[in-house]
Symmetry: C2
Subunit: 445 residues, 2 copies
Amino acid sequence: MAEPLPDLIEELVSDAQNEDPAAVLTTLASEDDVSIATVLESLPVELRISTWEGLPRDRKIDVLVEMRSDPREILIDATPDTEWALMFADIEAESLLELMDSLPSRLMDLAFKALDEQQQAFFREATQFTDSEIGHWISHEQLALPINAKVRDALRLIRRNVPSHSDTIFLTNRSGQFSAAVKLTKVFGAPEHVPLVELTIENMPVLKVTDDTTVASLQLQRSGFASLPVVDDNNKLMGRLDVTSASELVNENYERQVMASAGMDEDEDLFSPVAKSARNRALWLGINLLTAFLASWFIGMFEGTLQQVVALAVLMPVVASMGGIAGSQTLTLIVRGLALGQVTKANFRALMMKELKVGGLNGVIWAIIIGIVASVWFSSAALGIVICLAILVNIVSAALAGVFLPVLLDKLKIDPALSGSVILTTVTDIVGFVAFLGLGTLFLL
Amino acid sequence: MAEPLPDLIEELVSDAQNEDPAAVLTTLASEDDVSIATVLESLPVELRISTWEGLPRDRKIDVLVEMRSDPREILIDATPDTEWALMFADIEAESLLELMDSLPSRLMDLAFKALDEQQQAFFREATQFTDSEIGHWISHEQLALPINAKVRDALRLIRRNVPSHSDTIFLTNRSGQFSAAVKLTKVFGAPEHVPLVELTIENMPVLKVTDDTTVASLQLQRSGFASLPVVDDNNKLMGRLDVTSASELVNENYERQVMASAGMDEDEDLFSPVAKSARNRALWLGINLLTAFLASWFIGMFEGTLQQVVALAVLMPVVASMGGIAGSQTLTLIVRGLALGQVTKANFRALMMKELKVGGLNGVIWAIIIGIVASVWFSSAALGIVICLAILVNIVSAALAGVFLPVLLDKLKIDPALSGSVILTTVTDIVGFVAFLGLGTLFLL
């Protein structure tokens, strides 16, 4: 590990101010691809482009592969076509798969022609799968031998070349179907004439090309192997998934979840151009505006009441926010449970009952506290009772919505991490305002 | 891979209803530890305990290790002391480190005594580090040889036993300091008399015991190695971090971030007892209530205005929520940047300027749209201008707060993922209400 990234970023920024970036560029070029990508993403656009131009050409594709799409596309747009022809000289199918969503079609054509025949075949094969299927992400460099091979054959294979993340040799039958795997370390201890089938691993996990990307990657992370074989529907060995790819895919999935909670995607650039960034976020603001106007419309139905009891207007945020928080707690728990496969038809009822009880208990406690505070603040016992009931109603409906909503969205194939919270707060806002102002109309006028 | 987990959970629940759980238990016991842990976490408490009791005793500690604290503690409380004595028979320091926060002290004593002398030493060593230092999580099973060893020595070592996730042999000098590492696959190709120092890896990354857990784990994930050596301040080889531990630590960190956004921790149990669950969530509701009352108090300063212009009360949620959403987008982006080490002193100013411009642009656009809608809805151009200005002020201050707040919290060593959003929405609520009602007081009365 060279110097920590924040230091490097600071040096780049300050050297740029001194107009002598050469020294820092040399330091940067000694870092690994991921670190260079991270540093580039941290730089304002102009400095990012000038730093990019100063990188050694043979690193550029590998660095681009490690970047998020938005900051990456800024560099792609800034690179002239003559440079691309040279950069693509050694490109492989795996890198092109990572870049395909960012490259304009003329560059895709250029890059595809630069692949050799086998790499072109790998590329075509991978693009038969969506990026949520593990078949899209497999690598083809692997140790594989026929099922009747002996330790001697394995040793010869290993001495030639061992691709990274190889801790096993895959054995296939004549039709290329996966049969079994042998640990490399077993091979070294064994006499040369022993058939490999005598050394195979019991219960070797096997992935299918159509397996969900995140599920398959988590399975590999847990398995303790450095890579797992990936087969097609006919059990034919198609390639393998390795731990570095798996952890990238898992981490990306988590990042997507975190960013989705604010209506952004994981490719959002720290320094994207202002217009683009504003556009990216405008949709979420717009959706939210519609839900806010909807809530306002419900409040508007009680204009007369508000005019007479202005305390209701003062306390509205309390009712809405308690429901929103209680609901989002339930929602977050259920969304995680769905992602882990822990929330199912079988335990749904039990879960709902438990969340209702938790909501009821917290509802009663906070309703009473808030009721007392409100009645003292506005010297009105009736107002205290009204807000008390409204809070109780809102927290309990929030719990119900928090359980039902994500399960429903999941059934409809809508990501509950993205749209769950905006729908939930719409529900809790409206239920809260209507309960509070409705009860106020009944009991306070 | 046996059957998918949701099926297994459903079978367990329905078999329990038929009062014949034996068959499903056999299926469950054939799964790996993580899957069993996941299934147990998905079961309502009583069924969870009865399923747990039916598991083979020699799997129980390994399954407990894979569970989250809250659901795990329910099983710990339900297990009699006589059973523990038998379960602890083969426990190792690493498992005990995972369980130490969940076990009551009498069970900790019992387990510690069951460790052999070396394991006790490992345990003591690890507990010198907090769980945010990688020294807490290292394993001690490793391939290590003196710096002057030859290929012959390496082959002898490997034939004896290769711990999982070993793709390198560590070389140490006489004082036990880490000197270099050699790839296992290099050893196999080389003649027996070659000194290992001739085969060493250039630029092998080395972790320090005091490195941050997540940073070190991410570094290993990227390195492409199956494990990395971990040294102390004097460069003494203390152990190693392997990819399975690293991915568990990284995934746990992401989960903590997701759960923190709703004020929960990652150990929250789907089926924790109602009282416990209500208590866990009450603190967050309470904090939120204080901020809601604070917002109400600010609204209360404008009671007179609200009474005269009730439309202000109707539109309050629109102003507050647009600021909240815009601010949380900036906040989420900056929190991720901080976590990745991408937000630093050097680029802070540039980031702030960019977010201000994005906020300004979205602020102007949405302020005009909302101003038009409001003036048409309430047939009042003045009201339209008031809400237009209030939205603009609120979205721009939200952008500022979204940049400053997480950086400030990070400096104060407070997790911005946990407390950022609650403070941010307090700011945007108050700024929104005061701007809207204040401008309303000035221009509409």
